[in-house]
Symmetry: C2
Subunit: 309 residues, 2 copies
């Protein structure tokens, strides 16, 4: 049984004649005749009384008509259910407190009609996240993915170059500098806890170390932000790096100092991954929003050369 056959039956039932139904469907009267005959043969029951002035429903036809309409409506619902935009856009972020999550949140507030879910997949690295996008587990993911690891079928759009800032305690030698250069950090110890190898964070800091000769200590478990901030506040040699817009490690309570980095400004290059050709309207709106609200990046920036662009 074919859907078009049901549509044809409904058209005939409503117009009362084959020719009118044929006109409505843009096919010939003979095609309508064939379709109805096929339907009646399939369900082994005649549905229409053919007269010389048209056709009307017989008893079985009257019984069948509402069912046919219901089938068509159900199909319409099924198609509607997966139409792009009919379900919330699922966006994956590494962490709800860093810049991408905040950008998504700002977008959501200014587009209240946009339905979306923000999730944090526990993926080890950006490549796995890209596959999650490809497989449809999420619609988009903010990651720092090397250009050569973007799988076929995934588009990568670079947004939100977030400048890094040095976070130090009040006793640190650089605590009162208005800004510093990455090269100035050569002799200092930078501690970023809880970064496992092969994650994209590790790759980024590795590239940063290589570029400027830093000693970034990524070892040791992460005991949480409070423990890190306590350690920073008490130490005159320890420092860490944070994104300029991050919502955590905010120095208010510990008299910590955020010191901008310049010449060049290292930026964490967030990349939005999504399926190529994805038509989800909220995704389109999000991309537009990010493009237009992306703050002007400083002209002298540094980012790993492997990042997608």
């Amino acid at each position: 049984m074919d859907i078009e056959v049901l549509r044809t039956f409904v058209a005939v039932a409503e117009t009362g004649q084959f020719q009118a139904a044929a006109d409505e469907l843009g096919i010939s009267q003979q095609a309508v005749s064939k379709r109805i005959a096929a339907l009646e043969k399939h369900i082994e029951v005649t549905l229409l009384v053919r007269t010389s002035r048209g056709s009307r429903l017989n008893m079985d036809g009257q019984v069948f008509l509402p069912h046919a309409k219901k089938v068509l409506a159900t199909i319409e619902q099924a198609e509607q259910a997966v139409r792009p935009g009919s379900r919330p856009l699922r966006v994956d972020v590494l962490n709800r407190r860093i810049a991408p999550a905040q950008a998504v949140y700002r977008f959501y507030r200014s587009h209240s009609e946009s339905d979306m879910d923000v999730v944090t997949l526990s993926k080890e690295n950006a490549s796995q996240a890209a596959h999650a996008v490809l497989e449809g587990i999420v619609d988009a993911s903010f990651r720092a993915l090397p250009a050569d690891q973007v799988p076929a079928g995934i588009s990568a759009e670079r947004f939100l170059e977030v400048p890094l800032e040095l976070l130090v305690g009040p006793g640190h030698p650089l605590a009162d500098m208005p800004w510093v250069s990455p090269a100035d950090l050569g002799g200092h110890r930078i501690w970023i806890p809880g970064i496992r190898p092969s994650t994209e964070w590790a790759m980024f800091y590795q590239a940063l170390s290589d570029a400027f000769g830093l000693s970034i200590d990524a070892l040791g478990p992460n005991f949480g932000d409070e423990a890190l901030m306590d350690a920073l506040a008490d130490s005159s040699s320890l420092a860490t790096l944070v994104g300029s817009g991050d919502r955590y490690l905010w120095p208010q309570t510990h008299d910590l100092r955020r010191i901008p980095l310049h010449e060049p400004t290292p930026v964490y290059p967030h990349v939005l991954l999504f399926r190529s050709g994805d038509q989800h309207p909220v995704l389109t709106a999000l991309r537009n929003h990010l493009r237009t609200t992306d703050p002007r990046t400083p002209h002298d920036v540094w980012a790993p050369d492997w990042v997608a662009r």
Copy 2:
């Protein structure tokens, strides 16, 4: 969109791989691949994640699956709704108090699982009733239809040869006869009120008159059974004819006499009309019931020669 495509999608979703779904549907794996590709193209959304060990649903697929199942279930319901036997059998009888209606009623009582409607269409003659059957207004009709008027597509099965009896008042010359022959009625006046020309009753009594030289008075309006019985009771010359099993014109209250007719016994030849090939199980059961319970007809019967058989 085709139903088989939805069935295929459900099969793939449930088995987890194309080959298994193909086996289930009795087609090749490549055909399944094509169908799924066509479905995904049609709704412009991918539904499955292909891996090297099978396929699983992605987010849209998970959304779509229950809708697809619902469509299939709705179609199943639609087909079920017109499956022969799923709705009550509609049987048309001329009158609820004559033999066919009583036979149908006996059938209904002994087949309590059989769902049926008994209606009395106000059709002028048997030919119109046959067309009502053909058009599906009713499923079957008890009529006395000439054999040459049975339309194509209608089957006629002769049941219930109901012997006629003479009904007279106590003062009638034949009131005390144990039985009479139709030929004995030659000089008597027989009055059957309310019979309009061109009805099957009129045709039957016309044939009866012609065969035995009776004078059957069919004129005058029908003032009802009570008026007829009153007239019979008061008259020594008036008589009428009734079927032997009729539930009306029963002589209890008026001291009327029912006198059997023999040599030959005129019978009213009821014919069951139904659509050729109608598979309605209740119709089949009814026909079987009528065939097996039909009382043995007397060997010396008369019926119009034009009746179907």
